[in-house]
Symmetry: C3
Subunit: 204 residues, 3 copies
């Protein structure tokens, strides 16, 4: 992984940790709850990916930076969540950026291991979305992405684009930019216009 991606990765961790800490605030948790939910949201997806692939110890064991970022974000949010609360649209966009980065990182790991295409896409989407799913389970909610958000599809778009760009041997910076753009093109309208996928709604 290049240096730039490492810093982007930590930024993605910070954004996802914030989403976890804000969920903790909505559920009136204590500081420990803030940290746990932030941690799970930020590193849960990558941890599950590493477990499934057998890449253990998982990625954050030998680099405590990930824990420090989560701890910092959780502590900050505990005292100032009312100032950063989720109504600020910038956060939703930052989250989309984290989603794109995590999808790319997960796909890259799959490419490094020569996985087949469906598994590589799964790893991209899993890395990007599993942390949010576990976050919602911890808060005893049905995970939002299962119900109404165009979210996992945006991760899939990024993952597929990155995979295609890599197979075409495009330069890695081009692959990165195209994949980020693909995720944003799918996720952006959902954020801006509140678009969602149709849900199952028939009487059975």
């Amino acid at each position: 992984m290049t240096d730039a991606i490492y810093w982007f990765d930590l930024a993605g961790v910070g954004v996802f940790a914030l989403s976890g800490a804000l969920a903790a605030a909505r559920n009136k948790m204590d500081i420990v709850g803030f940290f746990v939910v932030a941690l799970v949201a930020a590193i849960g997806g990558g941890t599950l990916r590493d477990l499934i692939l057998g890449q253990t110890p998982v990625f954050w064991i030998h680099d405590p930076s990930y824990l420090y970022v989560c701890l910092g974000v959780a502590g900050f949010t505990f005292f100032w969540a009312h100032k950063v609360a989720s109504r600020f649209k910038i956060l939703v966009w930052a989250d989309a950026f984290g989603l794109a980065l995590f999808a790319i990182i997960g796909t890259q790991k799959a490419i490094d291991l020569n996985l087949n295409i469906p598994s590589a896409l799964m790893m991209g989407v899993l890395t990007a979305t599993a942390g949010g799913i576990i976050r919602d389970i911890l808060c005893a909610e049905i995970p939002l992405i299962l119900r109404r958000e165009i979210y996992a599809l945006a991760a899939l778009a990024g993952s597929a684009t990155f995979l295609a760009a890599t197979h075409l041997e495009l330069p890695s910076s081009t692959a990165l930019i195209l994949s980020l753009a693909a995720t944003m093109i799918v996720r952006g309208p959902a954020i801006q216009f509140g678009w969602s996928l149709p849900t199952y709604n028939k009487n059975s």
Copy 2:
């Protein structure tokens, strides 16, 4: 694993994916939710088994057939769930068949690794039931099998029978048939007559 078991395994995956997709329908999820819940129900148990045993990458990483089956079942159910809805008793019987097969497959994996008897039984039951438990957690319900169904016991009966038959060195087709029968004998009356285990019901 023989060829026949491989096809049975895929059939079991299909049935369990259907149980997941129908749960998604009850919770009015979108198509992504259908796929995620179908996937978790169908391959969650085997994935957890492989993680606990250290058999990584887990079984579906190098054979995308499992993902394709889940994707197909989820898509089909999204559009026609009202036609296959859970009131059709055939589905419950198909689910019992999947339960039996997954218990056998989990036990076989444990035998291949020379595990002790309690751990082998655990692997059989875990493979057969953990996917359903995670499915219910994703839908924010207390897993049904913890409350009122004779379900895990049926998996245990199949697992124990398969283990005994293997120790007695019965031919593998005999072991298979006896184990299927054992699961069905325990699970069948629960389906047919609505039998369940007594639950804890004292004032504490």
Copy 3:
């Protein structure tokens, strides 16, 4: 691990299994539910720790004593939960003792693997608390420790003390006693006086 710690470990497993079985009683589960929740509460934390560290097969696969203890406790509680119900303060103290032991055991595993300090503390706290979190998720509750209990902090105190004592090369019995004391000093007042951490409670 010394012999004494092994027996303490099994005692901790028993206490945590009891906490799971009592949760099953509150949710009026059947005997299978009692066993599943007891098992998850008692060995869930250590299992997750072993998975994350890549120490597979996980610890209970080759020593069925852990399963037997959980099975025994679950069966006993199913018939006599009303006699051991959670109002008996001795149970809460036993639970604190289990918390301390699991934190020490998790930290010891991290030390054996030469992990950095933050990861070692994480492994101590994770071993001690993750089982309880999964137990509460299975019961469809927001995990209690995320909301109001001084619980994870007590595990952290024990883990940090054990790590410090080990770095100072204190005799292992001294390290053990100091770490137990540290957990009890943090957890004790919470039990005795109902102390809890402040929760997030601002309008956002």
